[in-house]
Amino acid sequence: MNTFLQQIVFGCLVGGLYGLAAAGLSLVFGVLKILNVAHGELIMLGGYATFWLFTLAGLDPFLSLLITWPLLFAVGAALYGGLFRFVATAGEETRIKNSVLIGFGLTLALQNVAILLWTADERGVTPDYSGAVLRLGGLAFPLTRLGTLVVAGLLILGLHRFLTRTYAGKAIRATAADWEAGALVGIDLNRTYRLAFALGSAAAGVAGTLVSVGYDISPNIGLGWTLKALIVVVLAGLGSMPGTFAGGLILGVAESASTIVIGGPYREVVGLILFLAVLLWRPQGLFAR
């Protein structure tokens, strides 16, 4: 029983990160109606940024968030201006199709860039507290993972507040609901799209920092994280940041529980089963409005 509870705890701790990885993707997908398959590569870049700051400047990974967030914000704005701007104004079907293709090309290109800059070796960020564990009622809470969950939760809360309380955030949500109507009432679509894309990338950057603390990073981790994010997006549905966070927790717990039930080597299959189940019974997602 205790090992089972422990697995659930691990699942929750990991799930927060899944939720954050998905939050940026969900924002971009929901607002621009484009699917950025290279989202995981942005996470990878965020991870390497933290790795560099940690090894070259000795900066604590959780403090490096203050740099990776704005850095990836800028990268996102540049990617939008240089690439995705050209597909964001097409009809909806073409938009998805072309954005998926461009994202896929970008995936390959960014992986290659990462190999050139950081080689194909696996890297990790290990501050001196990385082995520390908090014990509560017979359950272990690794300190870095706890920090990851807290940061992920706070950032998602921040995004939620921004989207619901500020003028720019409301413009983003209005555009997501109906971009034509948004344009008619005077919202600058191009600016709103750029902001949403940059915010999504910045969230990926933070997720990357958190990934570098808990996992190895290498140039080819991107697609795996895109996949986790996509499964969470499909699971949770679009339009609700707290829902995305909850979706991440569900995926994390389902994966952890599955290591007991069907064994570690097959745990990835759980994501696929969840994806298919949602598609069959609730295609709009569990928490969509």
Binding site: L116, G224, L227, V269, G271, L276, L279
Partner: protein, 322 residues
């Protein structure tokens, strides 16, 4: 008899006839090639090229003709390779093993396709991407080893039969694509590709058309994977599931001309031969170059090389007098 056949051909689409003639000529030339050269380096490049033609053409049937973007084509190529390889090593005759691989790929295609196709938008792309990645990771977990040919298989290994098998595979893939592109069903594909609502309103069943394209596409990808498994001496079991294969299929199709029959063939030839040159000179950056090239084609030349050729040809053709 022969005259009547020629008459019947004249009723066909003249473009199709011209391309068909070129295809038959190319096939005949390639079939005679081993009689003239025994150079294994040439034959090996050609085997890779022919498998690539089939891979690209199989993506093109679903992604180009029917307009459904598949981001996990490697799943079907890999499934074909895995099943064919395992059965072949257990003594199953090669054609049966490869056929079982293709059947597995089709079954996987239906598992993802039927639920995802009922919905619009990105679900199919997400589902296929997910399937491929999950299979890659799971196969890597369960069979984390190199699959090498057993000694007796190595002794009986011979390149020329594999060359002909690959040639047959490429020919079949082009024939299937041509049969779908130049028959009545192509209008249905075009309709659902351009506007699903209008297609459904006009009585074209989107789901049935998508599934037909899916079965043809995944079956061919599985065959290609099976022949890859038959051809290669050793590789990691998870390797055919790598996203590289999806990317190869995509870039070959788009460089050549997506949604056409000749495009993927042209694209495969261009890509495989260019890669032979680039990989030697630019080991480090060739993926960066191809990734950028791919994005450029999608953004600026949606018709690929085929469109570029048409444009160039039009420059030379005398203009009709005004």
């Amino acid at each position: 008899m022969c005259v009547r056949a020629l008459d019947a051909m004249r009723d066909l689409n003249p473009v199709a006839v011209r391309w068909g003639g070129a295809g038959v000529a190319a096939l005949a030339g390639l079939a005679l090639l081993p009689a003239f050269t025994a150079r294994t380096d040439i034959l090996n490049v050609l085997v890779v090229l022919l498998i690539s033609v089939a891979l690209a053409q199989s993506w093109n049937i679903l992604g180009g003709l029917a307009g459904q973007v598949n981001l996990g084509h490697a799943a079907f190529f890999g499934a074909g390779a895995l099943v064919a390889r395992l059965l072949w090593f257990r003594g199953v005759p090669v054609p049966l093993a490869v056929g079982a691989g293709a059947a597995t790929a089709m079954a996987l295609g239906l598992i993802i396709g039927v639920p995802a196709f009922r919905l619009r938008g990105a679900y199919f792309a997400i589902g296929t991407l997910g399937l491929a990645e999950i299979l890659r990771i799971t196969v890597g977990n369960v069979l984390p080893v190199i699959s090498a040919l057993p000694a007796p298989y190595v002794q009986s290994y011979s390149l020329v039969p594999r060359y002909y098998v690959a040639l047959g595979l490429a020919a079949v893939s082009v024939a299937v694509a041509a049969a779908l592109a130049y028959s009545g069903v192509s209008y249905g594909f075009g309709a659902i590709r351009e506007d699903e609502d209008a297609a459904a309103a006009a009585g074209v069943g989107p789901l049935a058309h998508k599934i037909l394209a899916m079965v043809a596409s995944t079956g061919l990808a599985g065959l290609a994977g099976g022949i890859f498994a038959y051809y290669h001496a050793s590789y990691y079991y998870a390797h055919p599931f790598s996203p590289i294969w999806t990317f190869d299929a995509l870039i070959m199709t788009f460089i050549g001309g997506v949604g056409t029959v000749a495009g993927p063939v042209l694209g495969a030839a261009f890509y495989v031969l260019l890669k032979e040159v680039l990989v030697v000179r630019l080991v480090e950056t060739h993926l960066l170059i191809f990734g950028a090239l791919f994005i450029l084609v999608v953004l600026t030349l949606p018709g690929g090389l085929l469109e570029a050729l048409h444009r160039v040809a039009r420059l030379w053709r005398p203009r009709p007098a005004a």
